[in-house]
């Protein structure tokens, strides 16, 4: 295996064109799966030092660079507002201090572990994911991005460059999970957004093949009985469906409290 550290995005995309090349960001998911020989890249394209970080807030949107770490998200003052509170709340519950120092937003979305936390938040907040290939840039919605367990809309020689969140003034958001006590991953996680016009969205993670939005205009929790939920040795399907309802309701309540200014 080779390791290359390109100094520009274009060089990185060129490097990724090699067969079995893989991007390396924080390494907190890729190195563990390489140790298990589940992934055996021929070339690691180390994107860790590209200028793909940063929290950029403008009047009507928030742009987060793909290399923004969990630690940066949990401590970013720009995100201390009800409309975006779910982001820091989610990031601060991921893994442990060491993992949050290295792990990145882009790496987590690209890895698409069905029990990972952040996919629920990007879905509920209606984020757009910006992808770059040598042939050009495209933007896909979070809903179009997640296709299944460890499977996304990313092409083999494509990188996430940033994630763009619309700012809905006056809304409130929250992320609540019941975690596996040893791994910390979500047995059931819910991200909720409540808007001043009465609209509300809930996205669930840890439930099945991928994170998904609960489809309902009225109360998203009403869509739960129809949601496809998997059971495993940690949580049989009835238990997980019950947990899904619990975390969804808690996330909605907390998002509403934040919107109304009665929560933290």
């Amino acid at each position: 295996m080779e390791h290359v550290r390109p100094s520009t995005l274009d060089e990185a995309l060129e490097g990724l064109a090699a067969p079995d090349a893989k991007a390396l960001a924080g390494g907190q998911s890729l190195l563990p799966v390489m140790k298990l020989r589940i992934v055996r890249p021929s070339v690691l394209v180390d994107i860790g030092r590209l200028e793909l970080g940063g929290v950029h807030m403008s009047e009507n949107e928030l742009r987060l660079g793909a290399l923004t770490t969990w630690n940066e998200l949990e401590s970013a003052q720009e995100l201390e507002r009800p409309a975006l509170a779910a982001l820091a709340e989610c990031a601060s519950g991921i893994g442990d201090l060491q993992v949050r120092n290295r792990g990145t937003l882009g790496g987590s979305l690209a890895h698409a572990d069905p029990a990972s936390d952040m996919p629920a938040v990007v879905l509920a907040l209606g984020a757009q994911i910006v992808l770059r290939a040598a042939s050009g840039e495209r933007t896909v919605s979070a809903e179009e991005f997640f296709l299944g367990p460890f499977t996304t809309a990313l092409g083999p020689a494509e990188l996430i460059t940033e994630v763009v969140f619309p700012l809905v003034e006056g809304s409130g958001s929250a992320y609540v999970k019941v975690e596996h006590p040893a791994s910390g991953f979500a047995l059931a996680g819910a991200a909720a957004v409540v808007r001043p016009d009465g609209g509300q969205s809930v996205a669930l993670t840890g439930m099945g093949g991928q994170a998904f939005l609960l489809a309902s205009d009225a109360n998203p929790v009403d869509a739960l009985p129809d949601a496809e939920i998997y059971g495993d040795r940690f949580a049989p399907v009835e238990y997980r469906r019950h947990l899904a309802g619990v975390v969804a309701r808690r996330a909605l309540d907390r998002a509403r409290e934040r919107m109304e200014g009665t929560g933290e």
């Binding site: 390791h3 390494g27 907190q28 190195l31 690691l44 860790g48 442990d96 060491q98």
Partner: protein, 162 residues
Amino acid sequence: MPAARQLELVINGERRSAEVEPRTLLVHALRDGLGLTGTHVGCDTSQCGACTVLLDGRAVKSCTMLAVQAEGAEVTTIEGFARNDELHPIQRAFVEHHGLQCGFCTPGMILTASDLLTRAPDPDDATIRRALRGNFCRCTGYQSIVDSVRAAATALREGEAA
């Protein structure tokens, strides 16, 4: 297999050179390449935190990082943590408050505590426990470790004021 190459690293304030392959983990470069065996391998699966070192002051698991990723950064291991032959205040607090028994987890505990205390100089117990979540101890039952970190925080704050 790509040939091993000489990697220049800044470790405990000194420029060091180690022979590594691209796949060499930082912990192996430290232990096998440079003889810095104070950094321990407890699990090799990113869980236990025994391999924690500081990378530009931030705690990272050196078993979950390639040595080549540390190029150009400042790495601090437990060997470089004492100041001029004097134990660092966090080390002293662990000795005084029974923060260790067998000592296997201790280098990782101390370096993680260092990261916490540079960001949060006056943490409550819940904050300390949360920061040490990625560091396992099979001996102490954790309470004495939390006591040690709290005492270290006080010592560091007083040292700063003095």
